[in-house]
Subunit: 297 residues, 2 copies
């Protein structure tokens, strides 16, 4: 193996320390950051995930309230709950846990979260602000993947980047974020004629498709960075394992740097959620002051 292994846990720990310091500052000003997580219906699948968020939040000095609603809760009721949270000054960020029951369209709920409390970075206005290069809450996974690349000794301006996967919440936001940093970005997907042609020309490859083994070493330019966003459970003779979208062994022979799965993008994603929580709290504090403190001017 020639590639440097990127330590997502260490990057996440550093981010959490920054978040904790910011959370302390905000708390002193009367704005202790607080997240509310909304789960609906059978939440067993997501429970471990929510508990991990809770632990990370406490670790970062962010209050975390996990709410569970029964499967029968209607869309109207959920929107009402979100409107209540939007209007509650003690709540600074709202997380909508997936999966949701079939009768709840996730996009409608995401649009009902106020953009200033959209710590998951899913509201269309949030996405639009990223395109406009405005400082905004970004989709956590995409922001985490880009933050990881930024820790490497690479010049972002002019960097040739290939993104494999064009989902709205990962691939496309990575593309805008990297464009905003001055990279030359190509986005590939299942309709691309030759993914290898594009990935082999790239200084950095992001892959977020959900197919184990999709990217192999022969698709990577020697010395390039491979940021693997896939999380797949596969059965092996030694039992079930979690792997990414890149074939780790062959890519690690060729790449300059590679993220492991698990322990790469995953921990940084949760740390980004906490970073968004304190950013959202500060934005709300400033928005509040702008709105109410004008008489002092």
């Amino acid at each position: 193996m020639r590639a440097g292994l990127i330590d997502g846990k260490a990057i996440a720990a550093e981010m959490r320390a920054e978040v904790r310091a910011e959370a302390e500052l905000l708390t002193k000003e009367g704005w202790a950051p607080k997240l509310v997580s909304i789960s609906v219906g059978d939440t067993a699948a997501a429970e471990l995930y929510v508990r991990n968020q809770q632990k990370q939040a406490e670790n970062a000095g962010v209050e975390f309230e996990a709410r569970s609603y029964p499967n029968e809760t209607s869309l109207e009721q959920l929107i009402g709950i979100l409107q209540g949270l939007n209007g509650d000054p003690r709540v600074n960020g709202i997380i909508i846990q997936r999966p949701l029951p079939d009768h709840i369209p996730v996009k409608v709920l995401q649009k009902a979260v106020h953009p200033l409390k959209d710590v998951e970075g899913m509201h269309p206005a949030t996405i639009g602000n990223i395109v406009y290069n405005d400082l905004a809450l970004g989709p956590c996974t995409a922001v985490a993947a880009v933050e990881i690349l930024k820790t490497l000794p690479l010049q972002m301006e002019g960097l040739n980047v290939t993104v494999i996967g064009h989902s709205e919440i990962v691939g496309k936001p990575i593309a805008f974020l990297m464009m905003g940093l001055g990279a030359t970005v190509t986005v590939c997907h299942h309709m691309t004629r030759s993914v290898a042609m594009h990935s082999r020309a790239a200084d950095a490859v992001f892959v977020a498709v959900g197919k184990p083994g999709l990217v192999t070493g022969d698709m990577i330019k020697p010395g390039a960075a491979v940021i693997d966003i896939g999380i797949n459970r596969v059965e092996t003779p030694e039992g079930a394992r979690t792997v990414g979208d890149a074939d780790f062994d062959s890519c690690a022979e060729v790449a300059g740097w590679i993220t492991p799965v698990p322990g790469g993008v995953g921990p940084v994603t949760v740390a980004t959620l906490m970073k968004n929580a304190v950013m959202a709290t500060r934005m709300q504090m400033e928005h509040y002051r702008d709105a109410y403190a004008r008489t002092e001017v």
Copy 2:
């Protein structure tokens, strides 16, 4: 010259006929489409442009009111004016003419236009909806450029597309729109190491930079489509001329199709504005009915 010349005027005329038919339908339902254009300060530079929009609107059956405000108008006054127009059911679309005086930040005004009346497709929420592939009002120039490509006998899925220029209102939206159609998209800009490497690999090249002669024939793959969005005034021994960003003569020798400047993307952009006007009117009608007609259900 081997390239087929793309006739923007003919494409625009066809779009205007569709718009006129839709405007007549809406008028019969009591929703005659109406645009309001806002100019601020010294408007001589934009006057010809506004008059052309007015003519095209009348031609398409869309009412057009051109308003001019003095240079001293404050940002607060303009936002108040926009809020009035947002709330006026007889106004279906708002156009903010550029340039604006220095004390008026264009983005603040664009955000003050209600997304349903955003016929120029500039609101962050509009951009976000495009990224999410929702049917929405798109930025006119970008939509026009893509509409032109769609008239050619090319399969959009898997098409290799290079966009030169990554502005928020042209290059980036072209990139998402083409991704939405299944193309593999690369976005180049002034920090790209070798634009030619990317443009030569593309089946279609969009260029929107504002530099005459930027794209030459040796940068184009034989048979590719060249969509030229640049509009530049240049001095020649025969007087001032309007040219695009592509060196027309050398590109036309190599390309399969090329848009002329003028007469290419320009007329289709104005037709797209009118198409947005009727789309906005229909969206407002449906929104109004959703909001007020629930008691009938």
